[in-house]
C-alpha cells in the first residue's frame, strides 16, 4: 500500500463511497440496473462490492504518484465527511422509500 500516496487513497475512498451511495439509489429506482449488476456476479450486492474494489484500486493506481501535502489530516477529514454524508444519504433514501 505504500506505493500509493495518501492523496490517492483518500480520493479512492471518496470514489468508492459515492459510487456505493449512487449505485444503491440507482438499483432501487431502476430495476434494469439491479438486473444488470445481478447478471454480472449472480447478486447485485456482490457486484457492488467487486466494482468498489476495482474502483478503489483503479483510482489509487491512477493517482498513485500524486504528491501528499505535509499535513494529511485535511485529506482524511474529507474522507470522513464523505463517509458520514454517504451513510446519511443511503439511510435517508431508504427511510423515504419505506415511508
Amino acid at each position: 500500500m505504500n506505493k500509493f500516496s495518501i492523496k490517492a487513497l483518500a480520493y479512492a475512498c471518496h470514489a468508492v463511497i459515492w459510487f456505493v451511495a449512487l449505485i444503491t439509489i440507482a438499483t432501487e429506482l431502476a430495476e434494469p440496473v439491479k438486473g444488470f449488476l445481478a447478471g454480472l456476479t449472480g447478486h447485485h450486492w456482490t457486484a457492488k462490492g467487486i466494482i468498489s474494489l476495482v474502483i478503489f484500486f483503479a483510482v489509487a493506481f491512477i493517482l498513485a504518484k500524486k504528491e501528499d501535502p505535509e499535513d494529511v489530516t485535511g485529506l482524511v477529514r474529507g474522507v470522513l465527511i464523505s463517509a458520514v454524508l454517504g451513510a446519511i444519504t443511503i439511510f435517508v433514501f431508504y427511510l423515504f422509500e419505506y415511508s
Binding site: 505504500n2 479512492a12 505535509e70 439511510f91
Partner: protein, 157 residues
C-alpha cells in the same frame, strides 16, 4: 449453519473494531513501541474487516435473502429489513476501504514521516472512524436480528 455464520460474521466485525480501537489508543500514546503495536493492530483489523465482509456476504447471498428477509418483511418490524438492513449492507462497504486508508497512514509512521504528529492524528481519525462505523454496524445487526426474532414470535405465538 445459518446462525453460526452470522455469529462468525459478527465476531469478525467486532474483532476488527477492537483492533482499530487498540490502534487508536497506541496512536494516541505515540511512542515508538506504541507505533509498532499500532501497525500490527491495523494489519489485523484490515484482515478481520475483509474476513467479516466475505463471511457476512456469503451469509447474506446464500441465506438471508431467501430465509430471513421475507419473514422480516412480513413481521411486525418490516423496517428492520427495508431501512436498517438495506442501509447496513451498503454502508458496510465503506469499512474495508477506510481500513486500508488507516493501514496506509499507520505504515508511514516512524519511517517515511518520522515523528510526524499530523500523520499520527490523521491515522487516529481513520482508525476511529472504523471503530464508530463498525459499532453502528453492530447496532444495526442487533435491530435486524430483533426484526427476525419478532417475526418468528409472531408465527409461534
Amino acid at each position: 449453519m445459518m446462525f453460526s455464520l452470522i455469529g462468525f460474521h459478527a465476531s469478525l466485525g467486532e474483532f476488527a473494531a477492537l483492533m482499530f480501537f487498540w490502534a487508536f489508543i497506541e496512536l494516541y500514546s505515540g511512542a515508538d513501541s506504541n507505533i509498532r503495536r499500532a501497525k500490527l493492530a491495523v494489519l489485523l483489523g484490515v484482515v478481520f474487516l475483509f474476513a467479516a465482509w466475505f463471511v457476512g456476504g456469503f451469509y447474506y447471498v446464500e441465506f438471508y435473502g431467501s430465509g430471513v428477509k421475507p419473514l422480516i418483511k412480513e413481521g411486525p418490524f418490516p423496517w428492520a429489513h427495508k431501512v436498517v438492513m438495506e442501509t447496513k449492507e451498503h454502508v458496510f462497504l465503506f469499512l474495508p476501504f477506510l481500513g486500508l486508508l488507516a493501514y496506509s497512514l499507520v505504515q508511514r509512521l516512524g519511517s517515511q514521516v518520522a515523528n510526524d504528529g499530523r500523520t499520527r492524528v490523521a491515522a487516529m481519525y481513520a482508525a476511529g472512524s472504523v471503530v464508530v462505523i463498525a459499532a453502528g454496524m453492530a447496532f444495526f445487526g442487533f435491530l435486524v436480528s430483533s426484526g427476525f426474532r419478532a417475526a418468528l414470535e409472531q408465527i409461534a405465538l
